[in-house]
């Protein structure tokens, strides 16, 4: 089993809300394994929960830490990092 971690800056001006959040959660929920999201040094929440991701209230320009455990974790993180780094809102 692979455990992978990635730090990315959320590029969307609205932060991890609205469309970016929906894309992020959809990708995380489709993963066969655990995926977590946190601010650096902060508590982690399930990245597969829209409510958890929304209430984390990540804003544009903030750094986040994504952790995934399971087969294909690195690939998933590539995808999530890409979503987070997308500047479109």
């Amino acid at each position: 089993m692979t455990v992978a971690e990635r730090r990315v800056t959320v590029a969307s001006p609205v932060g991890l809300h609205a469309r970016p959040a929906a894309r992020f959660v959809t990708a995380a929920a489709a993963f066969d394994g655990e995926v977590y999201l946190a601010r650096p040094g902060g508590p982690r929440v399930s990245a597969a929960s829209m409510l958890a991701v929304l209430t984390l209230g990540v804003r544009g320009g903030e750094e986040i830490v994504i952790t995934a455990e399971g087969d294909g974790a690195e690939e998933l993180l590539d995808r999530l990092a890409e979503i987070a780094a997308c500047t479109a809102d």
Binding site: A22, S49, L51
Partner: protein, 558 residues
């Protein structure tokens, strides 16, 4: 509303109501089904696993419906519905429901309670998330409809422009109306639709409310709505009234700047804020912030945010508002909005427990550090900053808070009046502080003894309840005689009609969500302080909330 399936009498027929938003429009009716209510009797739970499964199956059904609806759309509407589907299928929501079922709640109640608590969190975070609270409410209504086998409430989407007919519209329903497809609004209730009226006006949608025969209208029947005269013509003669798109009323644009009555009496119009973007919030035409909910910095945190982090957030906001006043409400949490780093233990009655200012009894450090961060941000930005403590019940507590805030170096210190005891002794409280702000939402919950986190007792929580207004009047009178400002920061202040009453009761400032500002500003500009006092007297003397609203509406001529 149960639509009447029988065709109306041949030929024209005119239904009358109360004009609520000017303009005329003709189009086919689309009826909005009412949200389902929880049954009066709460059954016992024998098989928690089966009960949880029932609730989750209903949510999955809702998620499916939302996904299907999303697939038929494009653009932002599609993405909004897809995001909503993700919320309906959320694993944490499922866990929260299972937890409540284990505590003994049947599926319907567990679902309602779990969603209500997420809504509270969303609202307290403000901005984008506060708007999503309405999406959660919609999920709740749909899932309840599945569980109770009731008609699914959904905004009509007949695929063409229509006249929306409803029993009543919640503000959230109105906010989501698309002025491109909703030609006009007709509601049967005159209820708390002042929000509806003002929003309809701001969107330029003609509206008729309190149309008692609106239930006779059914999907597809053509009607002509006259929002100036309060008339709805059923099956109008061809060519009678062309579908006029009324221009956005110019009146809102004419009145800008500081709030004042027609005779020039100033009433500061302020903003209620949470975690919104400070610069964007500061762009609104307002005189400052009347309520900064600071919970957004604290919720969902395992550890308390550092003073440095708090300072940075406050300073950014203070800078954004420049020389306008910013009123910071200190942390309003307790066992109903628990914080991991300030554990309160379980309380069976959290609304009556150790919340708000009362948390100093168990962990005073949190408030001290918050006040220090606010004071530092105020000092370094040179902003005009006020602080106020929530849930202060006694003059002694007010004095204690003033002591703490002054020690931190803050000059303007007040308290939120939201406990009836504080309203009753408003004169003694006001002698301790520089100002007070009446939190009408909690004050109404505590005065009428009706839980505001449930939807079961809306009439008791109606801000037009004369008992609530009497308490506000008592605070206003104390403020007037001591020459101290009395603000109102609850939802009541956002209702233009009620805002007039509040000013008549002695409110010197009104704080509300940004969309409500133009309507309240305009209402004030049309009435003198004397008018407001007369309206307040009418409301105080009324038998009940409905009568109070009708008496004031009648006197104002809306």
């Amino acid at each position: 509303m149960e639509p009447n399936r029988r065709p109306p009498a041949v030929g024209e027929r005119t239904l009358t109501g109360v004009p609520a938003s000017p303009g005329r429009a003709v189009g086919p009716v689309a009826v909005l089904a009412p949200p389902p209510a929880l049954p009066g009797v709460r059954p016992a739970v024998d098989d928690p696993a089966a009960e949880t499964a029932r609730a989750l199956a209903a949510l999955e059904r809702v998620a499916e419906l939302l996904r299907a609806q999303a697939a038929s759309l494009d653009g932002p509407a599609r993405e909004i519905l897809e995001a909503q589907a993700l919320m309906a299928a959320d694993p944490q929501l499922a866990a929260a429901i299972a937890e409540r079922v284990r505590e003994g709640l049947a599926a319907e109640w567990a679902l309602d309670a779990a969603i209500t608590s997420y809504q509270e969190v969303f609202r307290s975070m403000g901005g984008y998330l506060a708007d999503r609270a309405a999406d959660l409410g919609d999920i709740r209504n749909r899932a309840l409809a599945v569980l109770l086998d009731a008609p699914m409430p959904r905004p009509p989407a007949p695929g063409h422009p229509f006249v929306l007919v409803a029993e009543d519209l919640a503000p959230a329903d109105t906010v989501r109306l698309d002025p491109q497809t909703v030609l006009a609004i007709v509601t049967r209730m005159g209820g708390p639709t002042d929000h509806t009226a003002i929003l309809a006006r701001s969107l330029g949608i003609p509206a008729v409310v309190a149309c008692t025969e609106a239930h006779r209208l059914y999907d597809g029947v053509p009607v002509a709505v006259d929002g100036d005269r309060g008339e709805v013509v059923v099956r109008p003669a061809a060519g009678q009234a062309p579908p006029v798109r009324p221009a956005r009323p110019a009146a809102d644009a004419e009145v800008t700047g500081p709030g004042r009555t027609a005779d020039g009496h100033p009433v500061a119009l302020l903003l209620n804020l949470g975690g919104e973007d400070p610069e964007r919030a500061a762009a609104h035409d307002c005189e400052g912030v009347g309520l900064l909910r600071t919970e957004f910095l604290f919720l969902d945190r395992v550890t308390e945010p550092t003073q440095e982090e708090q300072y940075a957030a406050y300073a950014r906001l203070f800078r954004a508002f420049g020389d306008r006043v910013v009123t910071v409400r200190t942390l309003d949490v307790g066992s109903d909005k628990p914080l991991a780093f300030a554990a309160q233990g379980d309380e069976p009655n959290p609304a009556l427990g150790t919340r708000g200012f009362r948390t100093v009894r168990t962990c005073p450090g949190v408030l001290r550090r918050q006040l220090a961060a606010v004071a530092r941000a105020a000092r370094e930005t040179g902003a005009r900053v006020q602080v106020m403590a929530p849930m202060v019940a006694t003059p002694q507590e007010a004095a204690d808070f003033v002591g703490m805030a002054r020690e931190a170096g803050l000059a303007e210190v007040g308290v939120v009046v939201e406990v009836p005891s504080a309203a009753l002794l408003a004169d003694r409280i006001l002698r301790q502080v520089d100002f007070v702000s009446v939190g009408t939402n909690d004050l109404s919950q505590y005065t009428l003894a009706a839980d505001r986190t449930r939807n079961a007792l809306p009439d008791l929580l109606d801000p037009w309840q004369p008992a609530l207004l009497h308490l506000v009047g008592r605070v206003g009178a104390a403020g007037r005689s001591l020459g101290r400002p009395v603000g109102v920061c609850g939802e009541a202040a956002a209702d233009p009609l009620l805002a007039l009453v509040l000013v008549g009761l002695g409110a010197t400032s009104l704080s509300m969500a940004a969309p409500a500002l133009p309507g309240v500003r305009r209402a004030l500009a049309r009435h003198s302080l004397r008018d407001c006092r007369d309206l307040a007297a009418l409301a105080l003397a009324a038998a009940g909330p409905r009568e109070a609203r009708e008496a004031v509406r009648g006197a104002v001529g809306w």
